[in-house]
């Protein structure tokens, strides 16, 4: 078990392309940190630098209190689970899991004890004699996790381990990974592009974009208090609605958000002081689909009536997505499946303005 520290780490490839642009990240002992972001954001490169599979161009990586910049992967005491499992095809499940221990010259009975224990945790005891080709995708991924667990390393590294599984199995394995972490409590760095995976697994989520860290926080912090338009749009599904707007005076000292000529919604009094400096400026108004609901609870502070023309209705069973256009920009509302919303008809909604976000138009910074 150990803490991991990434300090001003840069990765530059031949030709001057910077995949990681000087990031800082402190990961506490026992913590489960998820690096999330779109393809090419530098999350896998960061993980591979922690593993020692990529050389670091600049900065320092610390594991368990030691700088490991020049330490080869085998001496970093880490274990990694790969996206495509990377099981040794000619070895049985037992030998796959025991390989690292054999190389480290563990006694035979200790190897057997550890493999059996990991197999018990992962429920793969009956597969130990099989070859990887005789396993399903989920079983292979379990074996890959078993290979990591038996080593009892300081840090677990997961590189998109669930990407190759089907949707149902992914949900199941997600729970298993969480359960394994609760059991073994090893410091874990997990890379994914799936924000739901990030939110459900992580103690803290690190959102990366274009080689930098956009925001680090607990899943709740990222969801409720994103610091940038990128994070606001990346976390949450469906994504947050963004509408170009102006903050204007509403009379009586209040403010309102005006979206073109189509829409103006009062800003809750509690936020007036916060948004006052941005009065009459071009900003971006953000509100999540789940904070636009069919009209009810009007009258509570911050719950404002809005009426919009329905474009498309998407029933999903437990909820219904209704799509609109406001001043040319698409807007989605996540509403009760019992809705009477129909295309080309007006729908009365309530916007929970207590959950609104205002962003600077150019920098995307949430104010």
């Amino acid at each position: 078990m150990a803490e991991v520290s990434v300090r001003k780490v840069v990765k530059e490839y031949d030709g001057g392309v910077q995949a990681v642009k000087g990031i800082d990240l402190e990961i506490a002992d026992h913590e489960f940190v998820v690096l999330v972001g779109p393809s090419g954001c530098g999350k896998s490169t960061t993980l591979r630098m922690i593993a020692g599979l990529e050389e670091i161009t600049g900065g320092e990586i610390w594991i368990g209190g030691d700088v490991v910049n020049d330490v080869p992967p085998r001496d970093r005491d880490i274990a990694m689970v790969f996206q495509n499992y990377a099981l040794y095809p000619h070895m049985s499940v037992f030998d796959n899991m025991a390989f690292g221990l054999k190389l480290r010259k563990f006694p035979k009975d200790e190897i057997k004890r550890r493999v059996d224990e990991a197999a018990r945790i992962l429920d793969i005891g009956m597969l130990l004699e099989r070859k990887p080709r005789a396993l399903s995708g989920g079983q292979r991924q379990r074996v890959a996790m078993g290979r990591a667990i038996v080593r009892n390393p300081k840090v677990f590294l997961f590189d998109e381990p669930l990407s190759n599984l089907d949707a149902k199995l992914r949900v199941q394995m997600r729970t298993e990974i969480k359960k394994v972490h609760q059991t073994v409590k090893t410091t874990t760095v997990y890379v994914t592009h799936d924000q739901i995976e990030a939110m459900t697994l992580a103690d803290r989520v690190v959102v990366m974009n274009h080689g930098i860290i956009e925001q680090v926080g607990t899943p709740q912090e990222l969801y409720h208090n994103p610091t940038s338009r990128f994070v606001a749009g990346f976390i949450g599904s469906p994504a947050m609605n963004f509408l170009p707007c102006r903050i204007e005076e509403a009379g009586g000292g209040g403010l309102l958000v005006r979206v073109g000529s189509a829409l103006s919604i009062p800003i809750p009094a509690a936020r007036t002081a916060r948004y006052a400096p941005f009065k009459n400026k071009e900003m971006v108004f953000g509100i999540r689909p789940e904070h636009l609901v069919e009209r009810r609870e009007v009258g509570k502070a911050g719950f404002e009536p809005v009426e919009l023309l329905v474009d498309v209705v998407e029933p999903m069973g437990m909820e219904t997505m209704v799509h609109f256009f406001v001043d040319g920009a698409p807007v989605c509302a996540r509403i009760d499946p019992a809705t009477h919303a129909a295309p080309e008809e007006m729908l009365a909604l309530t916007a929970d303005m207590n959950q609104m976000h205002i962003m600077e138009k150019d920098s995307g910074k949430v104010v």
Partner: protein
Amino acid sequence: MSATTHGTNSLHRQRMWALWGSYAALAVFVIIFLVPPFYTIITSLKSSAEISAQDGSPWMVKHPSLENFWYLITYSNFQTYYLNSVMITAVTVVVSMVISVLAAFSLSRMGFWGSGVLSTGVFLTYLVPPSLLFIPLFQIVGSLGLINSVWCLILLYPTLAVPFCTWIMIGYFSSIPKELDEAALIDGANYLQILTKIFIPVAMPGIIAATIFAFTVAWGAFLYPLAYLYTSNQMVLTVGIISDLIRGDVFQWGKIMAACLLASLPPIVIYAFLMDYYVAGLTAGATKG
């Protein structure tokens, strides 16, 4: 309905034609390739008198006899040629495979500066025909004092086998997912352990293919032994058979054919043995697929 039936019939007819075509092509192929060995076997079982007799069919044997085989087995020169061929081939295969596997691993996996150009260069050397090389090589071998020595062939055959074997192995090693070496590196393996414990077992079909190639090069080579060897005690099978069993214009066909059959035994046995291990898809299950 009728259109569907018509379509099915047409497909069925096309398949029939394709099958008949395939069988006809296979029959021609089998005849072309199996008639010579058949004729070799028939002739090897005949006495010299029966071979030169004008009556009867040359495709039949009236009085089968093993006298040609017995002559060769007890003929000391033939034994020497056989042993020399076996020794040269075994050393060539081992040396070529050790060099090829190490070269292919470093060229395909260690990614050092110039490794790409070097990989292509290795293959290009294979494209130079031996007939162009044997005169300059004669000078090299001569300066080393190895003319008329089995050691000159042991030195030269790997130069023929290594480039192509390396090329085959580069292809196989490149098809092994990069994550396998990375997983092994993290598990604690060094490069040599990755090679011996992961790459060699996983790339066994490639190693067998390359081994068969190296074996064929060394066992069947004719030009180099003809050019560099001239005494019976250093001679190998390919040249020894014709130099001993063709005396002027007298061809001892029965013995030549028997010698050919005996010389073909090791390749046949080795091919049959190795083919059992030549299982495609050994990497199945390593990664998603």
